[in-house]
Symmetry: C2
Subunit: 312 residues, 2 copies
């Protein structure tokens, strides 16, 4: 379903390149223009034929586009907005895929012209990998995309963007940026923070060697290392730009952890058992809602070929 | 390779039933006897033909066995030891698969007769599921098994047990129970604790509904719900029996988290970036060591059939 004439994607990493593939695969626009700060990235995009045109210059890249999608770390939005502001086509839609939404209006509303539709967005989907080769068209299928249009947003422009995400296989939810940032603080930002933190803690111990941490990681630790392998720049920008909600949720997490610590110290088995019993239900609901694998261990393969047996 | 004449497994859950399958598949013993407190479990074991004999009575179950494997929650060991002590064959090996090791000698050395070989063990492998149907023979392949024999243990008995785990495809490491409990506190117990904790925190929030937590769990949260769906009895017993090491490691974790919190509060992007950069390396090493999947997102499938698209 053709919704746009020409779409410009700025930042062709995991998410930007997945958007490029999904736009193409679902025939959502006629022409795809790719723009990235990294020349190697644009070469890769050309090699993989992810766009009809690659363009290093931001102003030239947005020229003639009725859709512009920012897919760079959120800390770059101010500068990018400044650069493209005057070059944007009349009535173009400007959106993004950033993991924080409150900061988008702050960074962009002052620098974009009145005549464009600024409608921030966030696909709640991803992997721990980065770059144009890591993306794939089905990344958004079965996942939710959140839009946080300003109150005075043009309903038609919002509707078109909603149709784009639906064409990618996503369900769309509309909410305020403030609510988005609170919800994602607990479902995404705090999980990443504590995963980064425990991997850091494990690395710094004196009594336990790194090699032991690696060898015995199948006890649970390895699950955390996946998200702690996510892009450092992207995640630095998330925490710098969603400070309030992250600190608020971190406060709750720490309070609960202190209670759990006390239960362990006092040997309160009932308190432990009660918490451990009701968390199981949350997983069941996530699987029922189609948001994770039913197969045990995330469906990791368990038939291990001899050459992949445990190594020192 | 036949190492034992008759092996009795006590507790035929995920791990016990996987041991039964692996014993059979690798021809490690001639006869397998299954014993469990739950009659439904024993019925299932008989139905699945996981053992040559099922026996509800502990004393009858160990009679004539040269290998006895405890695969129940560690909190049950004292009572089980008391029950089987006098019924054990002369020179039998008694081992276990429990996730804590310091407590095993405490619970069992007083109640088992001098003439048996008590050699505690722990396969560092598992899934979030429970019960005899959840097990499989290849669970231990490519993973590490830890043995914590007492200083005066019979070398031959230790060697035989080592051969058993190697026959299952595991590599074996020998260490003291104290060191085991410290290493596993960071690679397994703390990861489970913080996973249980964040799932609990998310469930109790006022500003964010449970349904939002479920819908947007693909942002990272769902990774934590897998291990927070593990068996509550087993995990209660782990925390009650590895109090010291868990509290010690939790203290380190909390200290580091406080530093991270401060970096966010003060907008210290460099501190965040530095931590987030070196954690990636740990994941790379885990993959290189064959302890996790190289495929992004744990290899979760991303081609989602239409009937499994996102649902409310
Ligand atoms: N990863 C996820 O799971 C996920 C999920 C949902 C949303 N998001 C959001 O999606 C956005 C992109 O994340 P990603 O994972 O796709 O990151 P990524 O793979 O690291 O890609 C980002 C790309 O943007 C380029 N870039 C950086 N600054 C730029 C600038 N000023 N102008 C033009 N290009 C620039 C980068 O080039 P260099 O390599 O030269 O820096 C890189 O090619 C972020 O806002 C993130 O919050 C990510
Ligand atoms: N799950 C893992 O990932 C993992 C990994 C490594 C080691 N371990 C260790 O393996 C052991 C078993 O864990 P699991 O995951 O296999 O648990 P599980 O699936 O819950 O199985 C435990 C079995 O033991 C039975 N049982 C409980 N108390 C008993 C008693 N007093 N006498 C006889 N049978 C009894 C249970 O019966 P009921 O159902 O009636 O209670 C159940 O059938 C634990 O010590 C655990 O620390 C677990």
């Amino acid at each position: 379903m053709t919704l746009f004439k020409q779409a410009t994607i700025i930042g062709l990493g995991l998410i930007g390149s997945s958007v490029a593939r999904a736009l193409r695969e679902n025939g959502v626009c006629e022409i795809i223009v790719a723009c990235d700060a990294s020349p190697e990235c644009l070469d890769k995009v050309a090699e993989l034929k992810l766009a009809d045109k690659t363009e290093a210059d931001l102003q030239k890249a947005v020229d003639g586009s009725d859709l512009v999608i920012l897919a760079t770390p959120v800390g770059t939005y101010g500068d990018i907005g400044q650069a493209i502001g005057q070059a944007l086509d009349f009535g173009a839609t400007v959106t993004d895929v950033g993991s924080v939404k409150g900061c988008v209006l702050k960074a962009l509303s002052g620098v974009l012209p009145e005549h464009v539709h600024l409608i921030p967005g966030h696909p709640v989907a991803g992997t721990e990998q980065s770059g144009p080769e890591a993306g794939f068209a089905s990344l958004f299928a079965g996942r939710w995309a959140i839009l946080t249009p300003p109150q005075d947003a043009d309903p038609e422009a919002v509707e078109k963007l909603k149709k784009m995400w639906e064409a990618f296989g996503s369900k769309v939810e509309i909410m305020t940026p403030e609510h988005h940032d609170l919800v994602l603080a607990i479902t995404s930002h705090i999980p990443h923070l504590i995963a980064y933190n425990i991997v850091g803690t494990a690395h710094d111990l004196e009594g336990v060697t790194d090699s032991e941490v690696i060898k015995f990681s199948a006890g649970g630790f390895r699950d955390f290392t996946r998200i702690a392998a996510s892009d450092p720049t992207m995640w630095r920008d998330v925490f710098l730009n969603n400070k309030e909600a992250v600190l608020e949720m971190l406060g709750r997490f720490t309070e609960d952890l202190t209670a759990l610590q006390r239960a362990i110290r006092w040997g309160d088995g009932d308190a432990l058992f009660n918490l451990f019993s009701h968390t199981r239900e949350v997983r069941r609901q996530i699987i029922e809602a189609g948001q994770d694998e039913e197969a045990p261990d995330f469906g990791r393969p368990h038939e291990i070929p001899p050459e992949k047996q445990a190594k020192d």
